[in-house]
């Protein structure tokens, strides 16, 4: 990360090198808002002088990047600098913004690779979606007691494996989760329990 004075125009506007004019226009409006003199988000952060300088730089970045000829020239200069070891990587805040949209819709949650869907984990996910067991039971036609045991991983009370798999698939569907991925992950606990019992 570099100081504002060392950031490229692309860094400053938080856009990629290939950004379209429309993207640049949107980014410019956003930055002008953040660094306006009445912006609450930067309250007390900058002296009036600094604020003026930053705004002037943002204006200049916008002027250059929205003018085809000026932008091409700027890119050439940037490429030349990079060859000499100047790194002008984009800041990446835009990527963060896109990767972390606030308030995702229930069911639209992306579970990273390797996430373990345990009984307790599924219960937590269900509760965070504000769905109770009664609703799941109505949707899946699985009785509530079995659903409770499923969440508690009380395998000794549940029927045979093939049924458990069926239950968990229906349960996952009711939560709008990938049913097979959930089942594969969940059943690991079942196999562990089964192995322990054999010993």
């Amino acid at each position: 990360m570099k100081r504002i004075r060392d950031q490229t125009y692309y860094d400053l506007l938080e856009v990629g090198r290939g950004a379209s004019t429309e993207e640049i226009r949107r980014a410019y409006r956003r930055e002008k808002e953040i660094f306006s003199s009445t912006s609450i988000a930067i309250y007390s952060l900058l002296e009036p002088e600094e604020l003026k300088r930053i705004n002037a730089t943002i204006d200049e970045a916008y002027r250059v990047l929205t003018d085809e000829r000026l932008r091409a020239e700027y890119d050439r200069r940037l490429n030349g600098l990079e060859e000499k070891g100047f790194s002008g990587e984009p800041l990446g805040t835009t990527a963060i913004r896109e990767a972390h949209p606030v308030q995702e819709e229930p069911g639209g949650i992306v579970f990273p690779h390797g996430f373990r869907f345990t009984g307790a984990g599924l219960k937590g996910i269900r509760e965070s979606m504000g769905i109770d067991l009664k609703q799941i039971s109505q949707k899946t036609k699985i009785n509530r007691q079995n659903l409770e045991w499923l969440e508690q991983e009380r395998f000794e009370n549940l029927p045979a494996l093939v049924y458990i798999r069926g239950f968990i698939i229906e349960y996952a569907k009711a939560l709008n989760l990938d049913p097979h991925r959930v089942a594969d992950s969940y059943l690991r606990s079942f196999y562990q329990w089964q192995n322990k019992r054999k010993i």
Binding site: M1, I40, I42, S44, T93, V102, F111, R116, G124, S185
Partner: protein
């Protein structure tokens, strides 16, 4: 003393080294740190792991009130004053399965200002507590005590409300936290002196941002400058905006994220926001946690979303072999 009823989840063997500590700070009093700590703790406990909430607001402890509990027999001051052996002895049960609580010292002046060795002992004990999740609720202000607790883990959470006064404190708090953090890893006497100077808002060297400090330190010793740069890159506090009323209040989080990165060089994760809800006020009046009393409220949903984001980031629910 604690007997958290957890019949599911991994055993204590499996969770060794997987414990996660979140510290909740932000400088301004009344921004909702304790409210968030309590409700987050409850949401986390539903995932089956053992959670302990620790009130480190020494001198102004009130986390038990949020849970509708009376002031307990054993508190942190018993630990600080060596009346009990370990921090385990002051963890009390709550009505919520998997959720334990350590109440801060409420009245004792000497507990409100623990001596350095006492503080580090406390921090050491917190770090060795054998549970899955620990949430540290911090007091207001940016005193060294508050900052040291804030920096216990790499999972620092800032709470701010969308008001100029609070935002001003947040910037000051995070700047002080960074300076405090780097002071501990640098042994060069001259650089330490500069860091001390930087702590003063109106310092004569004109150090206003981490960049200024790095530049000055780099002039003294290039390798220290590089070291500080690494520290800056690895510092990734998370932000929650509380008491959000409008769309533009929500956007303040994004704008702060952007300003943090551009001006301070600090990459901050905007975890989410909590809407301003009358039910929050009602739940506090009733001394009942929001997510239990009003689980369908909009604010509860916001807290649930934040919990999921935190938990998805952590290894506890992951298969180790994958």
């Amino acid at each position: 003393m604690v007997s958290l009823s957890g019949d599911q989840g991994d055993g204590s063997e499996a969770r060794k080294g997987r414990r996660t500590i979140w510290t909740i700070g932000g400088g301004k009093g009344g921004s909702g740190k304790t409210f968030i700590a309590v409700n987050l703790g409850i949401c986390l406990s539903r995932f089956g792991g053992e959670v302990v909430l620790i009130d480190t607001d020494l001198g102004g402890a009130n986390i038990h009130t949020f849970l509708g509990l009376s002031y307990p027999k054993r508190t942190l001051s018993d630990f600080i004053n060596k009346r009990v052996e370990g921090i385990r002895d002051v963890v009390m049960d709550t009505d919520i399965p998997n959720l334990g609580l350590v109440v801060g010292a409420q009245d004792l002046l000497n507990a409100a200002n623990p001596k350095e060795p006492q503080k580090w002992k406390l921090i050491r004990h917190i770090n060795s507590l054998d549970v899955d999740y620990i949430i540290l609720d911090l007091g207001a202000g940016s005193s060294f005590n508050v900052l040291d607790f804030f920096l216990i883990s790499k999972n620092e959470i800032l709470v701010a409300t969308p008001e100029p006064t609070c935002i001003e404190n947040t910037y000051r708090f995070i700047k002080s936290a960074f300076f405090r953090k780097v002071k501990k890893v640098i042994s060069h006497f001259g650089v330490k002196e500069i860091i001390d100077m930087a702590m003063d808002q109106r310092n004569e060297r004109g150090i206003k941002t981490p960049f200024d400090l790095i530049e000055l330190a780099g002039e003294i010793d290039k390798s220290i400058g590089l070291r500080l740069e690494q520290e800056l890159e690895s510092f990734r506090p998370k932000l929650i905006i509380n008491q959000v009323r409008t769309k533009s209040d929500v956007d303040i989080g994004f704008s702060m994220q952007s300003a943090f990165l551009k001006y301070f060089g600090i990459s901050m994760d905007y975890l989410g926001y909590i809407v301003y809800d009358d039910e929050v006020w009602q739940s506090i009046q009733k001394r009942k946690p929001l997510v239990l009393e009003f689980p369908q409220s909009r604010a509860s949903k916001c807290i649930n979303e934040i919990t999921l984001k935190l938990i998805l980031d952590k290894p506890f629910l992951f298969d180790s072999e994958e």
